[in-house]
């Protein structure tokens, strides 16, 4: 985004403060720098080459000040609630990402992020290698059975804060596909790297249910990360690398629709893609073609004949015990939460009950979880506690980050709380 465009977007913020009412982070910190208008004010001053504004008396930006503004911009979950609540419809996410890009270009990224975004995430082979290494290393950690599968509890040292993560599998979902599986079909599945390599059972459930819905389903054997982590960190080059690989594979497969079980990946392809790829880029046509065909998992199943033969399994769930968690990107940014809710209600019948705090952010926020785990955990623990208060014992959702976070938080708050992907629920109801 050129600076003139960015300045216009920034000028739309009149600093009324309505972003304070809905900010996920603000209740935890209670300082202005944590809400959108504070960050926008900082970016505005940074663009002017100084901190402060003419009437205030300016303070020139040096490296230390640059780093401080960069930190302020990075300290956000990008849940988008401020943007949706803004009376002036300020494009907060675009502004913050543009700001992060500006500072990433100026100051560079930390080495670990550079390697991750430029070398690992855009490469299926590298991603698989990391999974394999993790699989080998995790035997040093403590196994922890949870209701939602085998997990590892990290030690409460070295900034790991006793976090719980799923066991990395010996083989990913895509690698597990047989030679003749998933070669062609009108529907293409983009499982995303988490549902491919970290929770391959969800990749498999998505695949099997889509197959039951639409017949043959294509899966790219060379899929890269969707590019959102790199983009959100301001690494546009890294994001482009990942996007380009995926776009080429998607265009070549020429599906009627591309289905995303992860809301964040879908947001990347439906909303961010056309902002990232310039209009004169060689892949622009492919990007437009792809963006039009991207659909969320629930909508794809609801549009299929399968939905008519799904028989709710009320016996499996207590009345009102199954709740839907609205992923910020899927339900908020893309407005597809109702499809997830409708499919879940069809699947579990009277087992469905509106979850208390359903539209609250889970606190994951991509790299925010790594950046400030204690805060991320407090937000997530509150979310789980609220759900339990409302009588929800099974939380169903459709976003990889939310599932990682909610399972971790359930392990901290209540191990009886189950966290499942919509596809797992639907697969359980497939006719034999």
């Amino acid at each position: 985004m050129i600076d003139r465009e960015l300045a216009e977007k920034i000028a739309a913020c009149v600093k009324c403060g309505s972003c304070r009412a809905v900010c996920t982070l603000y209740p935890e910190r209670r300082t202005e720098v944590n809400v959108a208008r504070g960050k926008i004010a900082l970016l505005e001053s940074a663009m002017a080459g100084e901190v402060g504004l003419p009437a205030c008396g300016a303070i020139p930006l040096g490296e230390e000040r640059d780093a401080a503004v960069r930190e302020a911009l990075a300290d956000c979950l990008l849940c988008g609630r401020c943007e949706r609540n803004c009376p002036n419809q300020v494009a907060v996410e675009e502004i913050l990402v543009a700001g992060r890009t500006r500072f990433a270009d100026k100051l560079g990224l930390p080495v670990w992020k550079r390697i991750l975004f430029d070398e690992v995430l855009p490469s299926a082979r590298a991603l698989n290698a990391v999974r394999a290494a993790g699989n080998a290393a995790q035997h040093l950690l403590r196994k922890m059975p949870t209701e939602s599968g085998l997990h590892y509890r990290f030690p409460d040292v070295a900034g790991l804060h006793g976090r719980t993560l799923p066991a990395l599998p010996p083989i990913g979902f895509v690698a597990s596909l047989g030679k003749d599986e998933a070669r062609a079909g009108e529907v293409m599945l983009f499982p995303g790297c988490v549902f491919d390599l970290v929770m391959p059972e969800i990749g498999r459930d998505s695949y099997e249910t889509l197959k039951a819905a639409w017949g043959e389903v294509t899966v790219s054997r060379d899929a890269a990360c969707c590019g959102l982590p790199a983009l959100a960190s301001g690494d546009r080059a890294g994001a482009m690398k990942a996007i380009s690989k995926n776009l080429v594979a998607m265009r070549a497969a020429a599906p009627r629709s591309i289905v995303f079980p992860c809301g964040s990946c879908l947001k990347m392809f439906r909303r961010d893609l056309l902002n990232v790829i310039p209009t004169d880029h060689p892949l622009r046509d492919a990007a437009e073609w792809v963006a039009e065909r991207c659909v969320d998992y629930a909508t794809s199943i609801l549009d299929s004949p399968l939905v008519r033969i799904l028989v709710p399994a009320p016996a499996a769930f207590g009345a009102g015990s199954v709740g839907w968690h609205d992923p910020c990107h899927l339900s908020g940014t893309l407005g597809r939460g109702e499809a997830g809710r409708e499919l879940l209600e069809r699947a579990v019948g009277r087992g469905f009950g509106e979850m208390k705090g359903t539209d609250r952010c889970c606190g994951y926020g991509g790299t925010f979880n790594a950046r400030d785990y204690p805060t991320s955990a407090r937000i997530g623990e509150n979310k789980i506690s609220l759900a339990i208060q409302g009588g929800t014992s099974t939380i169903v959702t459709a976003c990889s980050g939310c599932i990682l976070q909610l399972r971790d938080m359930a392990a901290r708050v209540s191990r009886q709380t189950r966290v499942r992907h919509l596809a797992q629920v639907v697969r359980g109801l497939l006719p034999a």
């Binding site: 000028a11 739309a12 009149v14 600093k15 009324c16 403060g17 309505s18 972003c19 304070r20 009412a21 209670r30 300082t31 202005e32 720098v33 208008r37 504070g38 004010a41 900082l42 001053s45 901190v51 402060g52 504004l53 009437a55 205030c56 008396g57 303070i59 000040r65 401080a68 503004v69 302020a72 009376p87 002036n88 419809q89």
Partner: protein, 463 residues
């Protein structure tokens, strides 16, 4: 602010004292579009910390600026002379709700909506409802004496503040008012502090009056051909001895503004709309809705829509709620004023605003709380045309003069702050200013509390 003061403040507040450029910049603004950099920000958690900071400020002579959510439209919390911003963000507890005596005791940083929700749990009701209530704080509402849509029936913040605990500008701690339904002992210092824009004292605790929660609400949207009919209908409803809980007027310019960005299901000839809400027990709501509808039709409403359920009422509110977002689409800058005229003068004021807009070639969008004569006058500016800016500034002064001539006030709910300081004397007169300055000196002898506000010569700030 000198280094010694900073050291002392760090001793008082520890890591809740901030003076990095980034932290200071985030407390340099509010919703006026102006910025002034403070020297530092601190987040007190109790009255004692506030007292210590203000005593230090008296000793070292630096300004102290109380700040709630920074959502004001008049610059009341802007640090125009630098100094220490004392934010109430960490003093945010609802200390008690007393259903037997219909009272709430709160700290200043409580968000107004939070108090309303807490009260609702006891089937009680805190009526003031400023547009910023989801993020604005009780302390800020008290400082500016915030109003809102329900003021026509329930009054404004002032009417619900029974007593206060505050640290005066002198650093002395004072308790004012009562915790009883009534009390007439001595001067009403509570009312002195409410609406004083943080220039007399820093409120650290408030005792607020609550009411029983109304059982039901009904809403009517009446469509008129012109502003005159609608503003006469406002008086007609009052004459029918009905007191609505909201009575919002949207003139032709506001409707046209919304039409440019949102599809509206309104008849083509709609030139003005009046949204009326009544609340109370279901039978009285039903009969009041009948009475209001009769009055609306008698004054020429071409259509009246009615709803009593949540979604239906929300549909009727859509037009009103769409105005603010739509304003941005027609011009990037608005001079947002909040004049009040006697209800009977509303038709004359509305006609005057239309004529002024045409004469000065300006877009002036008017809407607001017509039930209490409070009009939000928005003079829209493209942001690039200096002649337009000059005409807009002149128009605002003309509007203020007309308002005062009609027996009205230049601010119904935003306060004077820095925005209206140039026009303050126009309304209160030189003697009014002089008496107020003497009162200020009694509360804040060294002038350290929120300096540069309300009166022009100390503000050194023009619009």
């Amino acid at each position: 602010m000198e280094a010694t003061s900073r050291t002392c403040l760090k001793d008082i507040f520890g890591d809740r004292f901030k003076d990095s450029p980034e932290d200071r910049l985030c407390y340099a603004y509010d919703a006026t579009g102006k910025e002034f950099l403070p020297d530092a920000v601190a987040y007190p958690v109790d009255a004692e910390e506030v007292r210590q900071a203000i005593l230090l400020a008296n000793e070292r002579r630096f300004p102290v600026i109380p700040r709630g959510a920074g959502s004001g439209f008049s610059g009341g919390c802007l640090p125009v002379r630098g100094g220490l911003v004392l934010s109430t963000e960490r003093m945010n507890r609802v200390l008690s709700i007393d259903p037997a005596n219909l009272l709430a005791v709160v700290e200043p940083g409580v968000v107004t909506e939070t108090l309303k929700e807490e009260a609702r749990r006891f089937s009680l009701f805190y009526p003031p409802d400023p547009a910023s209530m989801k993020f604005g704080t009780i302390g800020g509402n008290i400082a500016e004496c915030a109003g809102g849509m329900s003021a026509v029936k329930y009054g404004v913040t002032r009417d619900y503040v029974l007593g206060l605990e505050a640290v005066l500008g002198s650093g002395e701690m004072i308790r004012t008012g009562v915790s009883t339904a009534k009390g007439v002992v001595g001067y009403d210092l509570t009312r002195m502090l409410v609406g004083s824009e943080g220039t007399l004292g820093f409120v650290t605790r408030a005792t607020l009056r609550l009411l029983p929660l109304p059982e039901s609400t009904g809403t009517l949207l009446a469509l008129f051909r012109d502003n005159g009919e609608a503003s006469r209908a406002v008086a007609g409803i009052v004459e029918a001895r009905i007191t609505p809980s909201a009575m919002e007027l949207m003139d032709r310019s506001a409707i046209d503004c919304v039409r440019r960005v949102v599809a509206l299901d309104l008849p083509e000839e709609t030139g003005c709309a009046l949204l009326v809400e009544v609340d109370g027990a279901p039978p009285s709501v039903a009969s009041e809705l009948e009475g209001v509808e009769m009055a609306l039709r008698a004054y020429g409403a071409i259509e009246v829509r009615r709803a009593t359920d949540g979604p239906g009422r929300e549909r009727l509110w859509k037009l009103r709620r769409s105005i603010s977002p739509a304003l941005r689409k027609i011009a990037p800058v608005k001079l947002n004023e909040d004049i009040v005229v006697p209800r009977s003068a509303l038709p004359e004021m509305m006609a005057f605003l239309s004529e002024l807009a045409a004469r000065e070639r300006l877009t002036i969008v008017n809407f607001g709380h017509a039930g209490d004569g409070n009009i939000h006058v928005n003079v829209m500016i493209s942001g690039t045309d200096s002649d337009e800016r000059r005409r807009a500034d002149a128009a605002v002064e003309t509007i203020f003069r007309k308002t005062v001539d009609l027996g009205g006030t230049i601010s119904g709910e935003h306060g004077v702050g820095i925005s209206k300081a140039p026009f303050f004397e126009m309304e209160v007169g030189p003697l009014g200013v002089s008496v107020m300055k003497r009162l200020k000196a009694a509360f804040d002898p060294n002038g350290i509390l929120n300096p540069g506000k309300i009166w022009l010569e100390e503000s050194a700030v023009t619009r």
